[in-house]
């Protein structure tokens, strides 16, 4: 996952260090401005003053993938765009997370059956951490997805576990 994971022996009590690191990471997620289609408008509304994402620490939308933690794929992924999404995701620094927002990025959405140019879900291109259903999901649903992601980040540990005995986890 990140550089400092999996370096301590499993017996060593790292819970307080874990807690602080996870708290710092989850309370300051920087999303990337990656609105593709209609869901992008709900993402903008979530960042505006009524449903303020900034109170969760996630209000600083970064334009460049190098400085962001979270890629919110908001909108339909097409074949022409799929290569670019993969490239942007590879440019993000670890720990990085992906949120599939909206029905189109989860499974192709309303274009699932007859859309010849639509990728049936962004998880065919990049690994996804949180799925937020809706067409488009309400800003409250997006915030719920963010909170679930924060809970997921809270489960990380820097000690060695069965999954990552000293090896960097390959994604």
């Amino acid at each position: 996952m990140a550089l400092i994971e999996g370096i301590f022996e499993p017996g060593l009590a790292v819970t307080s260090v874990d807690w602080v690191l996870n708290w710092a990471r989850k309370r300051s997620i920087f999303p990337m401005t990656f609105g593709i289609a209609c869901c992008a408008i709900e993402m903008m509304a979530a960042g505006a003053s009524r449903f303020d994402l900034d109170r969760f620490g996630a209000g600083a939308f970064r334009a460049t993938p190098r400085q962001s933690d979270l890629m919110i794929v908001a909108g339909t992924v097409t074949f022409k765009m799929a290569d670019r999404i993969r490239r942007l995701w590879e440019q993000m620094a670890e720990p990085r997370y992906v949120m599939a927002m909206g029905a189109c990025s989860i499974s192709g959405g309303p274009y699932h059956l007859h859309g010849y140019h639509v990728v049936k879900g962004v998880d065919l291109v990049i690994p996804v951490d949180v799925y937020v259903p809706g067409c488009p999901p309400r800003p409250e649903a997006l915030i719920e997805g963010l909170i679930r992601l924060q809970e997921k980040i809270g489960t990380h540990t820097i000690a060695k576990t069965r999954d990552n005995f000293g090896l960097k986890k390959k994604l």
Binding site: A48, S49, C135
Partner: protein, 390 residues
């Protein structure tokens, strides 16, 4: 204290001599599909000579969602949600265009209450769409506050829409035959309350953004599109009216009771530069919001009792033939070309997206401008990629 004399070498300061020594090359800069100011997935390839742009080529298709092929496979009533998602900021207007095209071809009569309701929601959506255009244009120019103000007003309109159809963005409310449901109790008074609150706010936007010196410097005399160039490139909507051409389908070829309403058509006048610059196009949108408020007030007065939808069979069959019908969307003229062979679904449905034509003028505008002007031009054209790529 001894004064230190600085002798600048006059040769190096002389521009002409530097220019003849330096060898410049053209640089290809890619303003990629992921960019904060391209209003969606638009890629612009720029050939630059230093800060000057020599050529800008837009590449589109990153959001091509096969709307036209899907139309051949689903029925007419099932197609309404797909029209929502094309220009997702003006979903009510898209629904209206499709419904009117199908009704005209099928000879379906829409009850009067439904027609006035359609006008109310189409104009409210026009206000909401222009608010997003104005707010994000300020964001492109570096002003964050107008964005928050515009979205605050938009939330109020979206609340009104949610109370009537349950959705915030893609409504599918204006269907073939009328509207889906009647308005709830208290809607008319809430709507009037919103209009009373909103009208003075437009003056606030003018104070914040329109007459701001920095904004005027960045958008005045930038991206000038003269009237004949605008018509040649097929521009419609505020982009055409910003170039001084008084053409609005609601006045020139009225549909859906628009001939009964009293409103003006604002046109660009070249106040801070040549006629047809970015500021003109932007200001036409601000003025159109005032006119939409007028129309909604008049429509609310004329609301009569009655049914809100005609009886339309679930599997609607249109007679064999074709139709091309256009409506005035917030971004321009949205056209539907429907070819029917008498079946449940169209044989061919072609959608003429206004942003598709509006964006094509970027190549002509961006000759010998500065790099920072590209963001100003794209923002003033107000493109929505869902409509460009369909």
């Amino acid at each position: 204290m001894k004064e230190i004399e600085i002798h600048a070498q006059p040769d190096l300061l002389h521009e002409g001599e530097i220019a003849s020594d330096i060898r410049t090359e053209e640089l290809l800069v890619n303003m990629g599909p992921q960019h904060p100011s391209t209003h969606g997935v638009l890629r612009v390839v720029l050939v630059t000579d230093g800060e000057l742009i020599l050529k800008a080529t837009p590449h589109i298709g990153y959001l091509h969602r096969c709307a036209e092929k899907i139309a051949e496979n689903v029925s007419y009533r099932q197609y309404t949600p797909y029209t929502d998602r094309m220009d997702y900021l003006a979903a009510m207007n898209n629904n209206l265009g499709f419904a009117l095209a199908v009704e005209k071809m099928g000879g379906i009569e829409v009850p009067e209450r439904a027609q006035y309701l359609r006008v109310i929601f189409a104009e409210l959506n026009r206000i909401a769409s222009h608010l997003v255009a104005v707010g994000s244009y300020g964001l492109d120019m570096g002003a964050f506050t107008p964005f928050l103000y515009c979205f605050r007003e938009r939330e109020w309109i979206v609340d009104l829409f949610e109370s009537v159809c349950g959705a915030r963005l893609t409504y599918s409310y204006i269907t073939i035959g009328g509207v889906r449901e009647d308005i709830p109790e208290g809607f008319v008074s809430q709507c009037k309350e919103f209009l009373d609150f909103f009208e003075p706010k437009i003056r606030e936007y003018n104070d914040l953004l329109s007459y701001n010196h920095i904004f005027i410097n960045r958008t005045g005399n930038v991206g000038v599109c003269p009237a004949d160039m605008a018509i040649g490139y097929g521009l419609t909507g505020p982009c055409l009216r910003g170039s001084g051409v008084k053409w609005d389908l609601r006045k020139n070829t009225p549909y859906c009771k628009y001939d009964e309403f009293d409103f003006d058509v604002p046109v660009g006048d070249g106040r801070f530069g040549a006629v047809g610059d970015c500021w003109d196009r932007y200001f036409v949108r601000v003025m159109e919001m005032t006119q939409s408020v007028r129309i909604v007030r008049q429509a609310l007065e004329r609301l009569s009792d009655g049914p809100v939808s005609a009886k339309v069979p679930r599997m609607l069959k249109l007679p064999a033939g074709e139709i091309y019908f256009e409506v005035e969307n917030p971004r321009g003229q949205l056209g539907f070309y429907i070819v029917s062979e008498g079946g449940n679904s169209p044989y061919r449905l072609k959608v003429r997206g206004p942003s598709f034509c509006n964006l094509s003028v970027l190549e002509g505008l961006a000759k010998n401008c500065l790099l920072a002007d590209i963001a100003a031009m794209i923002g003033s054209l107000d493109v929505v990629m869902g409509e460009v790529d369909r």
